[in-house]
Amino acid sequence: MQAIRQVEGRAIPLGLKNVDTDVIIPAPWLKTISREGLGKGAFETLRAEAGNLFDQPEYAGAPILIAGDNFGCGSSREHAAWALLDLGITCVIAPSFSDIFSGNAFKNGILTVVLPQEQIDRLLEVATTDPIHVDLETQTVTTPFQDRFAFEIDPFRKHCLLEGLDEVGLTLARDAAIGQFEARASAERPFLAHPEAA
C-alpha cells in the first residue's frame, strides 16, 4: 500500500448523496481478475451525461472527490476503491461513508475524510475555482481562503496510512495468538470449529 501524508489539488465537487457502488463502478466492470484499469468504467452513468464534472478539463487528474451523505453505499466491491485510484483519486470528503467502502478505501491507501455538511458545502463552493489541501498528519482540510476544517480519524488507520503498512503482514505476525484462540475455541465450541459434511 502506498503511504499517504498530504493530498493537494483540485477536488471534483460531486456533492451527491447516496452515491452507491453501482454508480462508482457498474457490475459489468467487475468481471476482471485484475485490480488495474477500472478507471475507464468509473462513474460510467454520470460520465454519459453531457457536461458532466468528470470530463471537465479543470478536474482532469483531480486527486480529491467531494460527495454527499452515505458515499459508497451498496455492494462490498473493492473495485469501487480500485476504480477511484485508477482515476487518480486518493481522497474522498463526505459527511458520511458506508462502513464497507471506507474499509476498502483505507486498505488501498485512499483517505476518507468525514466533515459536517456545512463544511462540505463550503468546500463544494471552493472546489469550483481553487485547489484544496488535505493533511493527514495534522488532520486538517484547508483552502486558499483561510478555511481550516479539522477531521477525526481512527489512530490505527492513520498510522497504517502514514506508513503504508500491509495489514495482512501485521496480522500474520500474531500467528501464535491466533493459534491459542483456535485451541481454546475448539475445546469450548467444537461444533463450530470443524465443519464436516455428513
Binding site: 456533492g15 451527491l16 448523496k17 447516496n18 452507491d20 453501482d22 454508480v23 457498474p26 457490475a27 459489468p28 467487475l30 468481471k31 476482471t32 481478475i33 485484475s34 460510467e44 452513468t45 454527499g68 451523505d69 452515505n70 453505499c73 451498496g74 455492494s75 462490498s76 466491491r77 473493492e78 476503491a81 458520511s96 461513508f97 458506508s98 462502513d99 464497507i100 474499509g103 476498502n104 486498505k107 488501498n108 481512527d154 489512530p155 490505527f156 495489514e167 495482512v168 496480522t171 500474520l172 500474531r174 500467528d175 495468538a177 491466533i178 484462540f181 483456535e182 475455541a185 465450541r189 467444537p190 461444533f191 463450530l192 470449529a193 470443524h194 465443519p195 464436516e196 459434511a197 455428513a198
Partner: protein, 476 residues
Amino acid sequence: MADKPRTLYDKIWDAHVVERRDDGTCLIYIDRHLVHEVTSPQAFEALRVSGRKVRRPDLTLAVPDHNLPTTARRDAAGQPIPIADPESAQQLAALTRNAPEFGIRLIGDADPEQGIVHVVGPEQGFSLPGATIVCGDSHTACHGGLGALAFGIGTSEVEHVLATQTLLLKQSKTMEVRIEGPLGPGVSAKDLVLHICGVLGASGGTGYVIEYTGQAIRDLSVEGRLTISNMAIEHGARAGLIAPDETTFAYLQGRPYAPKGAAWEQAVAWWRSLATEPGATYDKVVVIDAAEIAPTVTWGTSPEDTVAITGTVPAPESFADPSKQEAARKSLAYMGLEPGQKLAEVEVQNVFIGSCTNSRIEDLRAAAAVLKGRRKAANVRWAIVVPGSGLVKRQAEAEGLDRIFTEAGLEWREPGCSACLGMNPDKVPAGERCASTSNRNFVGRQGPGARTHLVSPAMAAAAAVTGRLTDVRELG
C-alpha cells in the same frame, strides 16, 4: 464487565476476540468464509504473489453464482455448454482453479447443490448461529437471520481472512429494530424489510449492527428471517441479527454441515444462551407497529424510496432535506415517474423472481400461490423465476411449482444471482420497468437504464398477472 447484561451481538463478539488493542480495535476470529468468483480472484492472486497460504481451508466454502447463465448449462448429451462471455468464463475458471490450488471446498456449477452463496450457506448448515461469517459480498448480512454475525467484506479483507482467519475490527454500535404485533394478511418479510428501509433511510444503520426483534420477527420462518437480515445493508447496517430459537434449530437440524449427535445438543445449548439478556441496552431503539405495514414497493433509485402499494409517488418538495429533494428529482427522471402518480397504475414489462433476498422455497411457493391458474399479462415481455440453489430448484419441481410458473408464461431457470445485478446475460432493457424481488433499485443495477421496483415474491407474481404494480391482496 462480566455482570453487565449483554446483547446477542455483544456475546458473539466477545466469543470471537483473539486480541484487543488499547484503541479498542480487536482481532476477531472468523468461523466461516464464503467465497464467490467476483470478489476473490485478486485475493488469491495476492496470496500467490506473496507466497502465503490459506490458514483454514476447512472453514472456507467456494461457490460460483454471479456470472453463471441461468439458461441450460448442459446440452442434450450432458456436455457443458461454454459460457459465451469470455470475461465471465475467465472469472469462473479462476475460481475453479483457485479453490483446489488452495485446498478449499468448491461447490461447482455442475454440482446439484450449486446456488447463490447466501442461499447455499444456510441450506448446507455451513452457516450456523453464533458463528462469525464473512464473504466478499455485502449481502452476507443475510446469514444474520440464523443468529450469525455475518457481514460483507472487500477483497483485501478476503485476502486477510484467507491468510489469517481473522479480521481487524472495531465493535459496532447496536440498534434494536422491534416490530410489534403480527404482520397483516398478504404482507411478507420482504414488505417488512422494505418498510424498515423507508423508516431508517439508506444510511440509518451505518455504524450499527441491528438486532430485529418483536412478534412479527419471531413469527417468521427462517426463510423470512434471512430475507430481513439480507437487506440490513440496504439501510446501512453491515450486519443484521435475529436471535436463534426453536424455528432456527428445526431448520438446521440434519443439514449436511450442521453438528450431529452430542455436538448438536452442545451447539443448541450454546445457541440458546446467546439471546439478549433482560436489562441489556442498545445504543438505539426503533419501534415499528406491524399493523402499519402494507405490501410495499420502491418508487426511486435507493432502497429507502419505499411506499405502500396503495400510495402515490411522492413529490421531491415533500422531503425536508434539500439533498434528498435533489436526489428524488433525479430518481423520478430516471424512473420516468411523476409526483402524485398511483403506484398501482405503473405498468411493468419485466418480472424477476430470484436473488439472495427472495429465491428460497418459501418465496417460490408464495409466488406460485398467486400464479396458479393465471397467466402473465400480454405487456409483460420477460418474466423469469430463478431458484436460489439447485436444491431449491429440485424441491420446487417436486412440489410442481415449476409447472405453475411455466403454465403462467414465466420462464423457469437455473440457479444464480441473475438479473439482480445482471453480471450474467439476464438484464432488463433500458427504459423498461421490472418488478423485482431483488434488493437494490440503484441506477443501472439491472442493466443500463433499467427501472427497478423492489417487491415481494407475491407482489412480483401479482405484477406479472396484471402487467402493472398491483396490491396482491386484491387478487385474492
